[in-house]
Amino acid sequence: MAYSKELLDHYENPKNVGSMDKESEQVGTGLVGAPACGDVMKLQIKVNNKGVIEDAKFKTFGCGSAIASSSLITEWVKGKNLDEAHSIKNTEIANHLALPPVKIHCSILAEDAIKAAIDDYKKKNRKNT
């Protein structure tokens, strides 16, 4: 299978690998996928008081396409507000990385992960207000 240059670059030099304090109120964490299916993504966002994502981190267990999809989406969400980040579509990721058809689910997982992280952040901050 021939992968695109963009995909290989994100796989070989993934951006924003790491973890943030999941207890922090500024941080939203999304954990999606399942080990038995061969993919797990953990995506975290740090949101400032203006509602803008100022940092994002990920860790991914999965194939090269899954790693690249999560690396790409962490780059994209930085600097966006929550609504903008929530509206990112998996097809945009799939197109950008030129994912082959059998790997489309990796981009869906990345979309699910960012939505889960946003939901987690909102849930945390709803409780506190």
Binding site: Y11, A34, P35, C37, K59, T60, F61, I67
Partner: protein, 405 residues
């Protein structure tokens, strides 16, 4: 260490043709062009002579009589012919077949085909070490059992089934014993008499002969009869019609001949390599598991699960090493290997598996290089893995409620 390019670690998929084999074959592509079945002139006799010497070499490595060897296109054809041929010939008397869940697809599919024709098929499970239980085998036998088909050495996990014990059980119950030995020839000593084997499938391209040739051993005393699958001129004692390719037969024969002389020496080298690689990986990476029995296995196969690192991403990271994925994310199915599943390897671990196969032309330098590359990449990908992070924090991953999709 100097970076090496494109190293072949997939000797269970296929092997390169040994230059000594190719050399023996070459005349049969050129000046010796007769039809080996032409009985009336020297062109035919010369081609036939090559084929018959090859047949002797094939027979010798399994302690058979050359008259008990027929040439085929490969182990897939041999397995089909053995199972369907015996079943068709004896099917009106006995209609039960015993095989095993981890057999090669061509055996399983042949059995499925026969099940559609009214045969009963028992698929024996395997233990966690990949071997069948002899008690299970004995318990499965009925007075209708016609044939047992169990492979000698496993293509994915390299484990060696107890052929002699299986042969004894079959013989004492008056059941035919067929074994797919595509991966076993040249790897373990084989003796059709000592092991009471009635039919054995052999492949050329797994033993440094070309693709497109194989053989089937069919016992003459006590005689095993099969119905042929191909109608034609009645070549190969009527069991496999079609003109033989002397070049391919000679290639298979020479490959067997080389192994008859060199198997022990080669096994010693490969055992050394296996230990180097396994120890090298285990020393630097915890949580790496060998799939299949550690004792009853051939040295040229390491099927390893690298926990917390998905197999395909690992393959991408070690792209200069041509290995095979134990998980099947590379194929369209996205299902982990049915073989690892049968061993009871959990799905999450099955997704982290690679098959590393080495053989005659692997060098010590390549083994060292590959070990370093694998260790480095496993460490890198674990730093990227949320599961590794959780495991290090003491989180029990199996207790998390994952959303399966």
């Amino acid at each position: 260490m100097k970076k090496l390019k494109n190293i072949y670690f997939d000797y269970q998929a296929t092997t390169p043709v040994d230059p000594r084999v190719l050399k023996k074959m070459m005349p049969y592509f050129g000046e010796i062009y007769g039809n080996p079945h032409s009985r009336n002139h020297s062109f035919g006799w010369e081609a036939e002579e090559g084929v018959e010497v090859a047949r002797e070499h094939v027979a010798k490595i399994i302690n058979a009589n050359p008259k008990e060897i027929i040439f085929t296109s490969g182990a897939t054809e041999s397995n089909n012919l053995a199972l369907k041929g015996v079943s068709e010939f004896y099917g009106d008397k006995k209609n039960h077949i015993i095989t095993c869940v981890t057999e090669h697809k061509c055996v399983l599919e042949s059995c499925r085909h026969l099940a559609g024709k009214g045969f009963e098929v028992t698929y024996l499970p395997v233990q966690s070490n990949g071997l069948i239980s002899l008690d299970e085998l004995k318990k499965s036998i009925t007075d209708k059992t016609l044939i047992v088909s169990i492979m000698g050495v496993h293509n994915e996990i390299g484990v060696i089934q107890p052929l002699e014990e299986i042969g004894n059980i079959c013989r004492s119950n008056n059941i035919f014993f067929h074994t797919d030995c595509a991966q076993a020839i040249g790897k373990i000593p084989l003796d059709v008499d000592k092991m009471n084997i009635d039919l054995m499938s052999i492949s050329g391209h797994k033993i440094y002969a070309p693709k497109g040739v194989g053989a089937l051993y069919i016992r003459r005393k006590p005689r095993v009869r099969i119905s042929s699958m191909i109608s034609g001129g009645g070549q190969e004692r009527g069991m496999r019609s079609g003109t033989l390719s002397p070049a391919l037969c000679v290639g298979l024969g020479e490959a067997c001949n080389i192994y008859t002389n060199e198997m022990e020496k080669e096994n010693r080298t490969l055992t050394k390599y296996k230990e180097m690689m396994l120890e090298g990986i285990r020393k630097s990476c915890p949580d790496v598991y060998l799939n299949g029995s550690e004792e009853a296995r051939v040295p040229g196969n390491l099927n390893l699960s690298f926990a917390y690192v998905e197999g395909e991403s690992l393959m991408m990271g070690i792209k200069d090493l041509a290995v095979s994925s134990g998980s099947a994310c590379t194929s369209a199915s996205l299902e982990p290997s049915y073989v690892l599943k049968a061993l009871g390897v959990e799905e999450e671990l099955a997704h982290t598996s690679l098959r590393i196969g080495f053989g005659r032309f692997t060098t010590e330098n390549e083994i060292k290089y590959a070990t370093d590359v694998i260790v480095k990449e496993v460490k890198r990908l674990r730093e990227l893995s949320p599961l590794w992070e959780m495991a290090q924090e003491g989180v029990d991953i199996s207790k998390i409620k994952w959303a399966h999709h």
